[in-house]
């Protein structure tokens, strides 16, 4: 081969390699930074105190359970809204809508996914929360449920977009096979297309949940930010505070290197571990499905 060509090959390969390694490096650095700033919290505050149910950092109460429970209840609520709506919309776009409708809906949903979350929070404060307050006769409209509704709205486009791609990738032959057997459209969707796209649909759900759990701006604006342990069903309709909102609201005002500062980083670590858990769960589901497919097809 031409010598300059070999040289170019070499440089390009190395550049791509460097990009890949640096991406991994950055993630590792972030992780180490989190550990460095967050782990001291364990030494400074007793574990018992951390797992307390009171979060009053000014008075040295660093119980993070209310924050974790707040994040979880809102995410759960958001998932309960986003999953059926998201998958339903994806099925409609991919399987039922006529082509012209699909060509309008798909970009529209993706546009919705690009909506800044602060705008949604704004709408939440001005429209959703006053409406909920009068509708449900609550003392305040800034509740976990309000947060769930809006987060659900944020997660829906992610779920729709990924799930629709997965449904679209199901070979046409599967559907025709079912139709030719006299399956109705609904039977085809429910018993052939959705199961065939199962792993992609699960990924969509996990990504949607991941999006919801990491969301900060909207929840900070509409959930009332009261660090109260949320374990009962009624807490869905009272103010809560999430981990993300706590970090965002307090990080700017905290003294660098103080106990409070370390605890905030510790919360960040917990959040990181939770999203990591969700991601690992998602990829292991996909991996298992792939393995299974390989085993059957080999």
């Amino acid at each position: 081969m031409d010598k300059s060509l070999t040289w170019r090959e070499f440089v390009i390969t190395r550049l791509i390699q460097a990009c890949c390694y640096s991406a991994i490096l950055f993630v590792l650095l972030i992780f180490f930074f989190l550990l460095r700033e967050g782990l001291p919290a364990l030494a400074e505050v007793e574990l018992e105190s951390l797992s307390n149910i009171r979060w009053y950092p000014i008075e040295e109460y660093f119980g993070i359970l209310p924050l974790i429970s707040g994040s979880l209840i809102i995410t759960l609520g958001a998932a309960l809204i986003a999953v059926p709506f998201g998958i339903g919309t994806a099925v409609y776009i991919s399987e039922i809508a006529p082509r012209w409708m699909r060509e309008i809906l798909k970009p529209l949903v993706e546009l919705l996914g690009g909506l800044p979350s602060v705008v949604l929070g704004f709408l939440g404060i001005l429209i959703v929360s006053p409406y909920l307050r009068t509708l449900l006769d609550l003392p305040t409209g800034l509740t976990a449920f309000t947060g769930s509704l809006l987060l659900g709205g944020i997660a829906v486009p992610t779920v729709v977009s990924v799930a629709e791609d997965a449904l679209d990738a199901v070979p046409r032959a599967y559907r025709e096979g079912a139709w030719a057997l006299g399956a109705t459209r609904w039977q085809t969707i429910w018993r052939v297309t959705l199961p065939a796209a199962r792993s992609g649909v699960l990924t969509a759900v996990m990504l949607g949940v991941g999006r919801a759990i990491g969301e900060t701006m909207t929840v900070m604006m509409v959930t009332g930010n009261a660090p109260v342990l949320a374990v009962r069903l009624a807490s869905l309709f009272s103010p809560v505070r999430t981990m993300t909102a706590t970090i965002a609201a307090e990080m700017g005002e905290v003294a660098n290197g103080s106990v409070h500062y370390h605890v905030l980083f510790f919360i960040g670590m917990v959040l990181f571990l939770i999203s990591l858990g969700v991601n690992i769960a998602a990829s292991s589901v996909v991996f298992r499905a792939k393995k299974r497919a390989e085993r059957i097809l080999s």
């Binding site: 032959a173 139709w179 030719a180 057997l181």
Partner: protein
């Protein structure tokens, strides 16, 4: 009982993307015989098949006219119940599409969709249709294995059995052996010769040789037009049209 199961009258159809089309096709398809539709690609054979069970409903169609009468009823009529029609007119595709289920589940799938729940009925139908598709002996000991683990030829016969389980009246086959080795192909063709005693069979073969081997009646299609239609024996020995002869002799296509 009329000798013609299907009567096609002046059927014209054009897809929106302008690919394959049909122009003024009229023909009759005989009961209890293998009717072969052959010709070069893009000639309208598959399109015609898909008109018989209305699978074209799901494709973008620009224009269509004409009639397809099955037992005297026009199935292109919008009022036709396509679900019932598709149970009556079964179809086997070029690529075997086994569902990601066990062999047993694949066979009884269509019946379950139709609402049959009794296990004895399902088992009976499964055994009967697997035997008819000439694959019972090969799979009877492993009915609960995934169907995707079978060889291509076996999968295709499972697909055939799946169609037979619904007890259709007409079976459409669109190049059912295009992906199969000669031995599997032979088994499928032999099964068809048995099946025609009970069913009306319409086959799009994947080669002229297969057309000649299997056809009781043969129709030659070229660019959406029916060029020649008649008994298989006559067509493949002494075709009337020059274009048919050219194609059979391999001078084009």
């Amino acid at each position: 009982m009329a000798a013609n199961k299907v009567v096609i009258q002046d059927l014209t159809l054009q897809y929106s993307d302008g690919t394959e089309s049909l122009r003024g096709v009229s023909m009759e398809i005989r009961r209890n015989a293998v009717t072969v539709l052959f010709g070069p690609a893009g000639g309208g054979k598959s399109t015609l098949l898909r008109c018989l069970n209305r699978l074209n409903d799901l494709t973008e169609i620009k224009a269509s006219s004409g009639k397809v009468l099955i037992d005297g009823e026009n199935v292109l009529d919008p009022k036709t119940d396509v679900i019932v029609l598709r149970r009556k007119v079964g179809m086997v595709f070029a690529r075997p599409v086994v569902l990601p289920l066990s062999i047993r589940e694949n066979i009884v799938y269509g019946l379950e969709l139709a609402g049959e729940k009794r296990k004895s009925q399902l088992d009976q139908a499964m055994e009967r249709s697997l035997k008819l598709a000439a694959i019972w002996d090969e799979v009877k000991d492993r009915l609960d294995d995934p169907a995707a683990a079978l060889s291509g030829g076996q999968q295709q016969r499972v697909c055939l059995a799946r169609v037979l389980a619904l007890q259709p009246e007409i079976i459409l086959l669109d190049e059912p052996t295009s992906g199969l080795d000669p031995i599997s192909t032979g088994k499928v063709e032999a099964a068809l010769q048995e099946l025609k005693k009970e069913y009306t069979i319409v086959l799009v073969p994947h080669s002229v040789q297969q057309a000649a081997r299997t056809a009781d009646y043969a129709a030659f299609f070229l660019q959406g037009e029916l060029i020649e239609y008649g008994e298989g024996k006559t067509m493949f020995t002494t075709p009337k049209q020059q274009r048919t002869e050219d194609y059979i002799m391999g001078r084009f296509g």
